[in-house]
Amino acid sequence: MSDKLSYKRKIKCAKKMRDIMTTYYLDAMTAEQNGKQVAWITSGGPVEPLVAMDIIPVYPENHGAMIGASKMGEDLCIKAENMGYSPDLCSYARTDISCSIVKGGPIGGLPKPDMLICCNNICGTVLKWYEVQARFYNVPLFILDTPVCHTRYSPEIAKYVRAQINEYIAFLEMVTKKKFNYEKMAKVGRLAFEGQMLWKKVLNTTAHKPSPMSAFDAFFFLALIVTLRGTQVAIDFYKELIEEMDQRIKDSISSVPNEKHRLLWDNLPVWYQLKWLSTKFSDHNACLVADTYTSAWCSALKYIDENNFLDSIAEAYTRIYLNIGVDQMAEQVLDMIKFYDVNGLVMHSNRSCKPYSFGQMDIMEIIRKKADIPVLMIEADMVDPRNFSQSQVETRIDAFMEIVKLRSS
């Protein structure tokens, strides 16, 4: 590929997003000087009430992804292990805990929190992780407990979670010593809803053949819907990104130069191997057009009532991808296989993320039976490179692609 073509394939909005993220982190780093409070929050937590209260939300998991992508994970994981934490503990948790002490990583650690918001809809590890941090920083911790909806969202669960939303607001009023602004909440709720609709639209552009972007791009552009959900900034950015994608479709600019095979990715990215993996698949003329991870930030949209936001988020935050039964997860994967018309599924068995990786074997069986496409399972970890063996993964990908090619010929 010539330099000119490679330049053409670059997504222009990427620079803008980097600038937005830099501003966001600078704001968070200087919050104290500007009289603002900072809340650390789990990736699946309801951030909108924080935005409505003018509290800056900071995501240790987003920070973990940055650490992984900058290949600084191993060192920080080892530091946590030296502190006595098990190597089996989630690498986001390990890097966050050690980073609080050594102030390492690409941005020298996160700004000190004034409070911690922990929602266990993504995993159980966050409970203990946030308790550790609450003790370390000596700040109040709010836990939003969302029971797993194996089959359905029962009236008992609805009542239980809804009551906690009120407790959450009372907690914020107590910590900030300010009254909760319900009017602003309604506005933020509408912005959050619109942002997620736009994010969904961004992801849907990859249904086009050839795909204008790949899951590797989605992993990157995801940062805004996570960190700036409920703000106009996210909405304006995604509108621009959709425009660029539509233009790429018109101009026939594809993510993979010669897209012949379309694949679906499951689980978190392998942050420190994004480039290698993306080149590896691209060399096979394969594009990872979609993934179950980035779509999690718009998959519960159907439960949100933008005009009755606080009441509806109890259900929306409880019924996210990682908090439902394996059968329902498999149904979502099957829907994606159909919508994006993919001919192979790549599953990342992630040593760190137990709730995501547990059940993958069952999902694999269901997909093989119902969608009749080849499925590959690779073993790795999102941040800790000691759990990744390049030559082993390479052989598995090559063999998988041989089967995908045979099936499509």
């Binding site: 093989r368 080849p374 073993e379 030559s391 082993q392």
Partner: protein, 255 residues
């Protein structure tokens, strides 16, 4: 027309030549530290064995862990497809393959045309690979060729409970210290490795007839332990260890 296949494994390098759909010659050497040199050497030796010259070779396919190092090959392909093709070439009825090599063990299922349907490979762990057995053989001071005969003489196989190669080795050492019979310890080692490999076969719901390939197929104790675990007999050909190279040569003929 003569075609060549070169399989650079983690422990041995194999080469095979085929001519008009029949096997001409094969050769095996240790890989050593330089996979390219091993490739050149095993290729030159197999040519000499078959009394053909380099210029007679129409195409070469390389496979195995060192496949990318063989810079004189026309194409590099994975062991999965090479073993599938090799097994189908030797015996077209084969529907399943269990390949246990030095670093990897895998189960492969084939359709009736010899195309790979599905496969499963061991995870990042040496238990259930040739390396596991080799480490144990060293601890017991038994050569690899003797392992099979020893284990077939066992009267009460020892139980190796550990699933980790390193810990299993210390377990074996404590068994030696406890004066357990060497035959029984070796049989126990085979049963432990067979249990790991069988999981791969069950995972992909392997169908008979199943061929066993890879260097470990030459170990009668291991094949017996695997057959017991699987509940059916395995087919072990004379060229089990060279099967990947044979498949690579067949694939070279289709380039």
């Amino acid at each position: 027309m003569i075609y060549a296949g070169i399989d650079i494994g983690s422990i041995t390098a194999k080469a095979a030549l085929i001519k008009e759909n029949r096997l001409l010659a094969t050769h095996i050497i240790p890989t050593g530290y330089n996979p390219l040199n091993a490739g050149i050497k095993v290729f030159e030796t197999v040519l000499k064995k078959a009394s053909v010259s380099k210029t007679d070779i129409k195409a070469i396919v390389s496979t195995g862990y060192g496949r990318a190092s063989v810079n004189f090959a026309d194409k590099a392909m994975t062991e999965i497809i090479c073993h599938g093709t090799g097994a189908h070439f030797i015996n077209p009825d084969i529907r399943g393959i269990i390949d246990v090599g030095g670093q990897d063990s895998k189960a492969i299922s084939l359709d009736k045309n010899g195309q790979v349907e599905n496969f499963a490979m061991n995870d990042k762990c040496a238990a259930g690979t040739g390396r596991f057995i080799e480490v144990m053989a060293n601890a017991l001071e038994v050569s690899l060729d003797q392992l099979g005969d020893f284990s077939l003489k066992a009267d009460n196989p020892s139980k190796i409970s550990s699933i980790c190669t390193v810990f299993a080795e210390s377990e074996v050492i404590s068994m030696i210290a406890g004066l357990q019979k060497r035959e029984n310890i070796i049989a126990g080692i085979h049963e432990s490795a067979a249990a790991r490999v069988a999981i791969l076969a069950f995972k992909i719901k392997i169908k008979e007839p199943v061929m066993m390939t890879g260097g470990v197929a030459k170990n009668k104790g291991m094949t017996a332990a695997l057959e017991k675990r699987l509940g059916f007999n395995l087919i072990v050909g004379d060229s089990a260890q060279e099967n990947g190279a044979i498949g690579a040569a067949v694939l070279a003929s289709r380039l």
